[in-house]
Amino acid sequence: MTRATCTKSEQELLAYWLGELDEAQESRFDEHLLACAACSERLRALVDLGAAVRGQLLGGDFGFVLPAAFVRRLEAAGLRVREYHLEPGGSVSCTIAPDDDLVVAHLRAPLRGVRRLDFVLHDPKSGTQRVTDVAFDPAADGVTMVPSVPYLRTLRHERQRVRLVAVDGVEERVIGDYTFNHYPS
């Protein structure tokens, strides 16, 4: 028996999986996937990739900049989240406890009118890093930084600085500096 190839695009498969189709489209997709092993296998691979991405988030393996509402959902799902709130120019003493799943820093900042937002992180260990074009809601009153948990666990008494920079073409404007005085728990 010869194998057919999948005729659906990855975007179509993902739209189906995420419930973005209307009822009639979803029903047609259901029928197609039950009749087509190639598309079904392709979707399964996509679903497994999504689960692995989710695992990376829950493992705290990466640093992210995410909306505060998203962090609320992580908490609602049972993750233990240690939170810090900083005003522009503010500093905080911070740590990570053994049973913390994630540590987040809510950085208040005037984002209205900001078109592109960059993060500049400085710490004595890894020097200065610039993360360009982070995802943010211009209508929100700040952004939420979720640092890598394994990295935080390596820190002793160390000071990290974060700068938020609004970028518009070649123009740059600092909209907030934040200092984290880390101590081991």
């Binding site: 973005e20 039950l34 943010f136 809601d137």
Partner: protein
Amino acid sequence: MTSDADDDAALARQIIGCAPRRDAGAEAELCRRLGPRIRLYGLKHLRNEAAAADLMQDVLVMLLQKLREGAVREPERVASFVLGAARQMVIDSRRSGRRRDRILAAFPVDLVPADDEAPEPIDVKRLGRCLSALPERERAVLVMTFYGDRPADAVAAELGLSAGNVRVIRHRGLERLRGCMETAGETT
């Protein structure tokens, strides 16, 4: 080239043609082929791996029983039969958690469908490297999408973007991630 539907139909006809005797080989092959697809349908509509595995087994048991009884009138449309059965079982399972017991009591068979082959596991270390190499915006959109399998409009609402914009970022991010995973796979 024959389609999957043609191959499924050929196996269904083989089972019907053999009745009342059992064609164990054809039944096993049909279960092997349809099982993963039914399981994926279950996962989509029930969002639970264990419930999806139960659904797969229940639908296959019912399908084989109906084929042996000659109750599937259009074997060339076996996928439609499976969809009808799966859809009804999902509705039942939402109404009552006792769906499985009722079905197994109503359609007793002695064949336990084989589970599908385990898919190749994702190399999480490689995935980690590839995720860390993504632009921050794409990484955030992918994480927000796959945590809870959220549609573009829900992700867009949290980021102050349009759903269309999120779809574009999601598409780019997935392409870049997959490209990185494949490249890394060739070089390691």
